[in-house]
Amino acid sequence: MVTQVEVRTLIVNGEAVMTAAETLADLVAERGLAEAKVATARNGTFVPEKARATTPLFFDDHIEIVSPRHGG
């Protein structure tokens, strides 16, 4: 039996990305950031770490994944 994987196009950090991730947690993991100090937003709204697993992804979602950086 063949499992069919749906692939979506998202905008992640400003760039178009093809992904099979179904949740924001999947996407973060897919990018190797499961353990990383990052924060996320979906379509301009903050998604806390705990909510990533229950946050589905849809076509053309705008995702931000940010990490600490120097600032003034």
Binding site: P48, E49, P68, H70, G72
Partner: protein, 275 residues
């Protein structure tokens, strides 16, 4: 090690949101030539607060982690900013992301109006401040010297205001000292931190002499020829300005007045004889 002792002014140390701070200087972490220089400059500054930001992750999160380690090793409080945000929603979401990653409910709130001056969008600023205060944040808004904006921010729950000296990165010092003096007089009990535009230690000292509670700066240190020594210079100037404010500055006079006593001046009668 020649770092200034942050305990020197212990009795007059700055308290923001009930947190006692070892210094009236706040320092940014951007634009240094190297992480080592950054760390040394922060240490030399004696600052108890450093500003940080969030940017899109790179290198699988390694960059952010290294930066966090670096900052963590400094033993200071971090103050995330919302630099670059143009709308209330961007600023609020950035603040929420910052709270999670940096594990602090303090936020330096910036809502920027335009690229030429990087001045606050005072409408967005007030609205975002209200949202964030309601959401439990301790908001330190980057604002102007405008009293009506200041009042709105205080009514929204802010307990600290950070008026600009001059536009970010210009190094011009206090562009409108008259208005800043009015602001200080109008809000005698609110902690007011001059944020942005400071280019030289004399600017920082002037702000402190006027009675401001602290100074936040970045470019003037980071872009100095010797950032570490410049950080220390600013720390000294801020201490000096505060000490002067507390010690009671002489007033300005229009007419000269001798410092050396006039009484007993030799030859005084000869002079009269000559006249």
């Amino acid at each position: 090690m020649n770092a200034p002792e942050p305990t020197a002014n212990a009795k007059s140390a700055l308290t923001l949101y009930d947190v006692a701070l070892p210094s009236r200087m706040l320092i940014g972490t951007a634009q240094y030539p190297s992480p080592h220089v950054l760390a040394s400059a922060v240490e030399a500054s004696g600052a108890g607060i450093v500003t940080v930001s969030l940017r899109r992750e790179q290198a699988r999160g390694r960059m952010g982690e290294r930066f966090l380690e670096l900052v963590g090793a400094l033993g200071v409080r971090v103050l995330p900013n919302t630099a670059g945000c143009r709308t209330v929603k961007e600023a609020v979401t950035t603040a929420q992301m910052a709270r999670e990653v940096f594990n602090t409910d303090w936020i330096k709130l910036e809502v920027i109006a335009n690229d030429d001056t990087l001045q606050p969008d005072v409408f967005g600023l007030a609205e975002a401040a209200a949202v964030l205060n309601a959401d439990g944040f301790k908001v330190l808004p980057y604002t102007t010297e405008d009293l009506s904006v200041a009042e709105r921010l205080l009514n929204a729950g802010c307990q600290v205001l950070m008026p600009w000296g001059a536009p970010i990165g210009t190094g011009r010092g206090l562009a409108n000292p008259y208005a800043l003096q009015s602001m200080r007089a109008y809000f005698p009990d609110t902690p007011l931190i001059i944020d942005a535009g400071i280019g030289a230690p004399s600017h920082a000292a002037q702000a402190m002499e006027m009675g401001f509670d602290g100074v936040l700066l970045n470019t003037a240190v980071a872009k100095a020829g010797d950032p570490v020594r410049m950080a220390q210079a600013f720390a000294q100037a801020i201490d000096a300005g505060r000490a002067a404010f507390e010690s009671g500055l002489m007033g300005m006079r229009d007419m000269a007045q001798p410092s050396t006593p006039v009484a007993g001046t030799p030859f005084f009668d000869l002079k009269r004889g000559d006249a």
